[in-house]
């Protein structure tokens, strides 16, 4: 059982790296200089491209976070399962010994 | 069942009137709470805009938490809880009696809090007294309904003082939000009846859902 959870965790780690690479490949060009002080409001669509907030870091952060959370949770589950399983086996063996 | 609820309510009120323990301490705590907010938020005699509604409901929530924590304390200490539960009447009657006791206590607290906040934060809370009373009543009922159930369930639990707010506040956040928005709508210079009615209807809906759910589950959840 614990082996399975470890395998799942390994898969997640692989996917994490793959996503990071793919995300980096898809990144739009980085923004240029900081924008000048505003004297009027402009909607975000009409801003020149270099002033807009780059989306790629947000996207990568989101996907990496998701995969990291699941990876860590699966790891925590695996740890708890192995520890309880160990105790169950140990107790079972002790009981069997004391019965015989 | 109504008779038993009424009897429990009368018992609690009688003990309260004689000793005043829960009532006075809750009231004092609520007033202190409001004063702390006043010290923190009122600058040079000018209170923050629209702060009064939120502060009123925060004070009610904190005071309610304190009162609920001790609602079943007497029963727990004197072991009369078992006697109450063995009474030949439906158990929800115990719940109803306790609920009404808490509501009365909180109503007394609010009667002091509302003028105090109106004074300290220069908010015209008493401009529409009937609507104010309606929103306060329905919000308090919703808060107390959930709180009485959880306080009853926690009577025998470990670390119940800490667990009561942990359990209570997430569930009652919608009630408090509705109460705050309703009160804030009442504080506007022009009276916007639609908005007030909307939040009041929402509060009534919460009350109906919470009281019904509590009555259903009180029986099965009450541990001795």
């Amino acid at each position: 059982m614990a082996v399975v959870t470890r395998t799942i965790a390994a898969f997640f780690l692989t996917v994490l790296c793959a996503t990071a690479l793919l995300g980096a490949a898809q990144a739009p060009p980085a923004p240029g200089q900081p924008p000048p002080r505003q004297s009027e409001y402009t909607p975000i669509d009409q801003l020149p491209p270099q002033d807009q907030l780059p989306a790629a870091p947000l996207l990568i952060a989101a996907y990496s976070f998701v995969l990291m959370v699941f990876f860590l949770y699966v790891l925590s589950l695996a740890r708890r399962l192995t520890s309880v399983q160990r105790d169950v086996d140990r107790l079972g063996a002790t009981l069997k010994q004391s019965k015989s | 069942m109504i008779r038993l609820a009424w009897l429990i309510l009368r018992k609690d009120l009688t003990v309260e009137v004689r000793s005043g323990e829960i009532a006075y301490t809750t009231l004092f705590f609520a007033v202190t709470c409001v004063l702390v907010f006043a010290f923190a938020l009122v600058r040079e005699g000018k209170p923050p805009d629209d702060g009064a509604a939120g502060i009123l409901w925060i004070a009610i929530a904190f005071a309610g938490n304190l009162a609920l924590g001790r609602a079943f304390e007497r029963e727990r200490q004197a072991e009369t809880l078992r006697a109450l539960l063995l009474a030949p009447a439906p158990r929800p009657a115990v719940y109803l009696g306790k609920l009404l006791g808490i509501v009365v206590l909180l109503a007394a607290t609010e009667a002091v809090l509302v003028p105090l906040i109106a004074l300290l934060f220069q908010a015209r809370l008493l401009a529409h007294p009937f609507w104010m009373a309606a929103i306060l009543a329905s919000g308090t009922l919703g808060f107390a309904a959930v709180g009485t159930l959880f306080a009853a369930m926690l009577v025998r639990a470990r670390s119940r003082d800490v667990l009561l707010p942990v359990l209570l506040y997430p569930i009652t956040v919608p009630v408090i939000i509705a109460g705050v928005r309703g009160t804030a709508a009442l504080l506007q210079p022009e009276f916007e009846g639609d908005i007030v009615r909307f939040w009041f209807a929402l509060l009534i809906a919460f009350d109906a859902v919470f009281v019904t759910l509590s009555l259903w589950t009180f029986e099965s959840v009450m541990t001795d």
């Binding site: 395998t7 | 919608p174 099965s220």
Partner: protein, 215 residues
Amino acid sequence: MRAATVCALMFALSPLVIASADYESTMGLVQKIFYYHMPSAWMFLVSGLVCGVASVRFLITGDARHDRTAWAAAEMAVIFGLVTIVTGPLWARKAWGTFWIWDARTTSSLVQWMVAWAYLILRKYGGPGSEKLAAGLALFGTANVAFIYVSVNYWRTIHPPTSVVPKLPFTMGFPLWYCVAAFTLLFIVLLKLRVRLEEQRATLDSLYLSMDEQG
């Protein structure tokens, strides 16, 4: 555990599937967070429902299996809720200009998440007898779930309404449903594993008891 392998493979392929989807016209690249945000939000709501239903069944029958399912579902709710609540603001920062707004859906989702946390705290620190208590809490919390789903349609809010999903074109619909399938599979696998942990703990307790009896 074939399900676990399938699930892991689906997740491994998901970036490719998502990359093949069309760019949304106003939000561009960042909208692709949607393909993880929405399925995890759905699983968050589903966990809330499962927890509530299992709690009701536990209150009615007293069967410990329902209690274990409820506990596992609460933990699922915390995990999927965490994913939803972090990916949402990351998307919102670009799409709406701000990390968080207090509208009906975000507020009630946050409240539901806090209820799930409170459930776990209660189970951990409540001591004996906290199963029924937690079941009562879950019952109240579940009433919130339907409210979240419906709230977006009734309150004027900048959160996209639920009508967006059926109208998706195929290039965007397919990645979405693919991710929904992946997340559902993940939810089922994790839930089963978590329930198994509780079952093992129960076995351990009974073993301790029989050891005490033996002397």
